[in-house]
């Protein structure tokens, strides 16, 4: 704090901003929970379904616009992440004095190293994108710990991400020229063309379904387990008098242990896998030889054009 640029981390203003940022992190999630509680219809027993629909507009072209729990929860997570970013980078100094700065630097450094190791130095600007994927995916999955619907359990969400990744892969594949890409589909022999074509679309499809399937199956298994344990409890401990007989005692404990695997571990794992596949697919998509040849050709043509008027 001897430096002139260092913000006074004990000042009232600094602490007020801190509190506001923490609120920015927590409030969106709370709002999602409130919204869910308000909208959820009273149901009996186990209920396995997709997201809760909040709003539907049938006037949109092609398909009705549906704003469901997945969208709202995604936005909540995004605002929460924004608050987290602002909180972590609040009061940065060249000489790291706060713990949160160490956390922020650790995150940036780790993600950047991950990108540099897996994609090469040419893609070092991809750090934010990969960090965003990991953060959005992991937080979207972990939100189910709060009883909210995981947006990653909706195929549209992971599908949207996978399609974005697909666009990026295509963007890099076309770097070598569309004609080269097209010829590449007929290699090693022309018969492979349909399979190669399917392979191109299989990448985003598999990414989307892997992520979605893992999270949704975890949620389904958790729900089934809870219901099964509830039934078991009623059968085994139903003889207890009065209210005691209605409490599903066997539900205590075991679902939490399962939740550690299906919600926490699987959620983080799938986020990491999705990011990893994104990095590998995008960095592997660049046809370096074709691209370099094309660049060289273009440079030669430019040089030739420059020489033409002179001659």
């Amino acid at each position: 704090m001897t430096e002139e640029m260092a913000p006074d981390i004990h000042s009232k203003h600094f602490k007020a901003v801190d509190r506001a940022l923490i609120a920015l992190m927590i409030l969106p999630i709370l709002a999602c929970m409130v919204l869910k509680i308000i909208y959820t219809p009273a149901t009996e027993g186990v209920h396995i379904s997709g997201a809760l629909v909040f709003y539907q507009n049938d006037a949109m072209p092609v398909m009705p616009l549906i704003i469901s729990e997945s969208q709202v929860n995604s936005w909540g997570v995004m605002i929460s992440i924004l608050g987290l970013c602002l909180y972590l980078t609040h009061g940065l100094t060249a000489r790291a004095v706060t713990k949160r700065q160490l956390v922020a630097e650790w995150i940036v450094e780790k993600c950047q190293n991950l990108v540099n190791e897996n994609m090469g130095d040419y893609f070092s600007a991809w750090g934010p994108f990969v960090t965003a994927i990991i953060a959005l995916s992991a937080f979207s999955s972990l939100i189910c710990l709060l009883g909210l619907f995981s947006p990653t359990g909706d195929v549209n969400i992971t599908g949207g991400w996978a399609i974005l990744v697909f666009f990026l892969i295509m963007h890099y594949k076309f770097r070598g020229g569309f004609w080269n890409y097209f010829i590449g589909l007929f290699k090693p022999i022309p018969v492979f063309a349909p399979m190669n074509l399917i392979g191109e679309f299989a990448t985003p499809l598999s990414m989307a379904f892997r992520h979605y399937g893992n999270i949704l199956s975890g949620a389904v298994i958790s729900a089934l387990m809870a219901s099964a344990l509830g039934g078991l409890s009623q059968t085994v401990l139903g003889w207890l008098p009065g209210v005691l007989g209605e409490i599903p005692f066997l539900r205590v404990g075991l679902p939490a242990i399962l939740s550690i695997y299906f919600d926490v571990f699987s959620g983080c794992m799938q986020a990491f896998i999705f990011a990893m596949l994104t990095m590998l697919n995008v960095s592997g998509a660049v046809p370096w030889d074709d691209w370099n040849a094309r660049k060289e050709k273009r440079a030669r043509r430019k040089a030739g054009a420059a020489q033409q008027p002179a001659a």
Partner: protein, 171 residues
Amino acid sequence: MEKTFLSVISVNIWNIVIALCNLLILTLIVKKFLYKPVKKVMDSRRAAIDADYAQAKAAREQAEEDRLNYAAAMEAAKQTSDQIIADAARTAEHRGNEIISEAREKANDIRRQAEADALLEKKKAEDDMKREIADVSAQLTGKLLEREINAEDHRSLIDSFLQEIGHDDDK
């Protein structure tokens, strides 16, 4: 308001577009609010560290230069002091020799003077002795003359006597 759930698998193009945009927006958020400030701070720290290193290096070089200068100055001072001591020794020796030779000369002078004085004294004594002897011989002559001897005997006696004395003196 109708409260419904979506089915477990339900594809909706708008939701896909929304998810795609969400990821893009979050990328921008992360880039602007996390990466940019953190990288800026890390860069500034690196710059500060580099500056510190450069400063330390400059200081070390300065110290080394000072040390060399000091050593050179010490060497020069030592040479000067050696020179001064050698000069002083030479001057002292020179002066000592001078003093010694002067003293020797003075001593020689004194001795020569003494020899001369002694010689003079000796001559004076010789003369005195001669005069004494002459006196004694005269007296002796008178005594002899009282005896009656002839003149010839008298003269030859004196001469021979004187001859003898002179002869003794020359030896």
